[in-house]
Amino acid sequence: MRDNPYLFTLLSAAATVVFIVFASAGLGGLARLIVRLARRSRREQEAAFAGYLFAAPWIVGFLIFVVLPMLASLYWSFTDFRIGRPIALVGLQNFARLIVEDRGFRGSLVNTLFLTIFGLPLQVGVALLLAVLLNQRTRGERVFRATFYLPVILGFNAAVLLCWRLILNAGNGIINQVLRAVSQALPVIGYLQRGAIYVVEIVNGFFLGLTNGNFTLMERALAEGLPAANRVPLWVQSPLWSKMSVILLIVWGCGSMMLIFLAGLTAIPRELEEAAEVDGATRWKRFWKITVPLLSPYIFYNLVVGMIATLQIFEPVYVLYRDNQPLAPSAYSLVFYLYQATFRFNEIGYGSAISWLILAIIAVVTFVQFRLQNRWVGYELH
């Protein structure tokens, strides 16, 4: 049968349909039975059956493709499972090694925190700025919206990788070319740029020191003072800039957040702004006193979703550093580390432990965010 791929595919599809039909009918029947045991009316029993019957394909898929693998992963996290080797239970050994011994994991945790602390606010800020700009009724606004959303559609494919590598080249990349040109034309900008390089290198040196316990690069950056006038960011060349390159890619992909902000901005009644304008409020004041408070649910949503996405960041790191391993440890994220353990070293048990630890971190951070939302998120309009 397997030598005829068409027949095999056909029969596999048929078997899948049969399974879904039976599983759905079974789930519907179970729902009806439970409702019947609860002594509900016949109509409610029928409604429960129909409801669960139609929801069942998704529920069955969720159980098979999400719940079961999660349970398997949880079990493997307590084993030394490695492809091609016998599996043995090792208790909490994987977790202990991760938390106590693994320098690489600690580094990936620090890198991810860096990206979350600096990258996420920047991404939210740029998305909000673009949304506010695109919310103006101007000619070609749809073209601009589509353009800024384009990176989300493009994702991080090989062509994008090549483009970013060219863009970020220290010598003739377009970003550095522009920085050089602007700083030469406007000396004030040049000083600002040098100041920014100074601060970025000190901050990154500090985080690198947290990773490997050696603060040499931070101390050197501090000692050298303001960089020379010909200095430019060494984006994908220096460990002091590797994470900043990832942040650029994070910001580049802010299109989804921008659309959510746009939806929020269109929901704000114009009368409020107009009333404030009549009362003499400046544009800046109206933005902070009206727009931002009323947008707070959207900001909160983007922060929660963005935080989860950043704590799981993988693609930008993979795109930029998969072939540049000497620099990778200064940039790789928790999920990149998980990918490496699982798919490069084939350590499924250890990789599973990493994934559960990441889940725990995300759960705690998200819980804290929800606990704090009452202090600043207002749902008056909603």
Partner: protein, 451 residues
């Protein structure tokens, strides 16, 4: 009432489909053949499908040739065999192939690189009894170093496609402009050369000419380059027992110091920008590199005019300080491996013998302009092209197999990380070597190689 009828109809349809499915799955499938049959060639009329996961190096060239010419030619003598190719790439290789081995089910042939024989070696079929010298006369025509890469624990696990050694390619015209007529022959000479031949543009604080590029022009930290340096001065990765790591040896220390000195000879400090991004090889006209240590993959195209100005040599180590130094061209191969889970090992081996016969090995490599793993396939384009001929000669003379490395992917990761830290001054030399020794020892202990 309506619901009950609906359920009955659904159950009825389901029952019918189950009956169909059940009947079909009861047909005698090939994979359910008893294990004893696995070692015997299938009967002539029994249909067999061989699936091969092959890295598509040159789309519309290698793949077209394999599908349109090789498979039909093989089927002329094996009409019952169907061959399906799954075209892959190195970027998705890890997750795809580890999935096959985790599931214990997948293609009958997998395209591997040199570094994977240590990772998957245990899970590949031992083939000495089918492809060894006693079983297949033609095996003697392969370059020995290439077979070493396609072996694990003394057993052939597949056959090598090509030999891709790492040479030192130097632009003789730029060398002369820098005052050199020949490539340096020891560590001190190379460091001096790299410094002399490197040019930094003060206006942009970026390189416009880089004296030496060991694989990666920016970081200059590469584990293959480091291992090549160790081996070239007579060092070894393992102590006399063949298992205990040897990164506390004098050779390991001298090699890592040399790697650092070369980096600093090019990048006086870590504020200097890299060479401008160009197209093609870094030693192509206008791309700025003077010497490149790499394989033919990173060298200029075979028909490039620049080859008349390129000198190709092995890396000679440091005979001044290490008398055991030897010229080395680090030999990498890509190869077709046969996983142990394959239910069609015998027919797969027959297909391998066909793809890797003299003519096909030659044609396979011709589609990629590489050096065939078979010495008797070094004809036509190989000998007609002086560059490939020179490379083939050096490979035959100085080839050093990148093989026999225990837990290779883990070692690669450790070395890349630690070299990266050392070459950017985030860590001193002693700490770096101690970390490599300690971490690799731990990996070998976890892998069961060391107690």
């Amino acid at each position: 009432m309506r619901t009950s009828k609906f359920v009955m109809v659904v159950v009825l349809i389901g029952a019918i489909l189950v009956a169909c499915g059940g009947a079909a799955t009861e047909a005698p499938p090939v994979e359910q053949a008893p294990p004893a049959e696995e070692s015997a060639p299938p009967a002539a009329e029994e249909p067999v499908t061989i699936r091969a996961y092959i890295v598509d190096y040159t789309a519309d060239s290698t793949d077209t040739w394999l599908e349109d010419e090789v498979v039909p030619a093989f089927q002329a003598t094996h009409p019952n065999v169907n061959v399906e190719f799954i075209w892959g790439s190195w970027s998705t290789f890890g997750e795809t192939v580890s999935g096959y081995f985790a599931a214990g089910e997948g293609p009958d042939i997998i395209n591997l690189g040199s570094e994977f024989n240590g990772l998957y070696g245990d899970q590949l079929a031992p083939l000495n009894d089918k492809l060894g010298s006693g079983a297949w006369d033609e095996i003697g025509n392969f370059i020995p170093g290439t077979l070493e890469n396609a072996s694990w624990e003394g057993e052939l696990r597949g056959l090598p496609i090509f030999s891709a050694p790492r040479y030192v390619f130097c632009r003789s015209d730029v060398m002369q402009a820098a005052g050199y007529t020949e490539q340096p022959t020891d560590f001190a000479g190379w460091v001096e050369f790299a410094q002399t031949a490197t040019v930094v543009d003060p206006a942009t604080n970026a390189l416009t000419q880089q004296g030496f590029v060991p694989v990666d022009a920016a970081s200059m930290a590469d584990f293959q380059w480091y291992l090549n340096t160790v081996w070239s001065i007579g060092g070894s990765l393992y102590k006399a027992d063949g298992v205990t790591p040897n990164f506390d040896s004098a050779e390991a220390e001298a090699a890592i110091q040399f790697n650092y000195d070369m980096k600093r000879a090019v990048y006086a400090d870590d504020t200097v920008g890299t060479l401008p991004a160009g197209t093609g090889s870094v030693i192509e006209e206008g791309n700025g590199a003077v010497c490149l240590w790499h394989s033919g993959w990173a060298a200029p195209a075979p028909d490039s005019a620049v080859w008349t100005k390129v000198d190709i040599q092995p890396f000679t180590g440091d005979p001044t300080n290490f008398p055991n130094s030897q010229p080395v061209v680090l030999s990498f191969v890509d190869w077709w491996a046969v996983p142990a889970y394959s239910p069609n090992i015998d027919m797969t081996v027959e297909f391998l013998k066909f793809v890797f016969n003299q003519e096909n090995n030659h044609r396979y490599n011709e589609t990629m302009n590489l050096i065939p793993a078979r010495a008797d396939a070094h004809t036509g384009y190989v000998v007609e092209n002086p560059v490939l001929q020179r490379e083939a000669e050096l490979a035959a003379q100085y080839s050093y197999g990148f093989a026999g490395i225990l837990e290779p992917t883990q070692l690669q990761s450790i070395l890349q990380t630690e070299l990266g830290l050392y070459l950017t001054d985030q860590q001193d030399k002693a700490t770096t070597l101690a970390n490599i020794q300690q971490q690799y020892t731990q990996v070998l202990q976890d892998g069961g190689y060391l107690p």
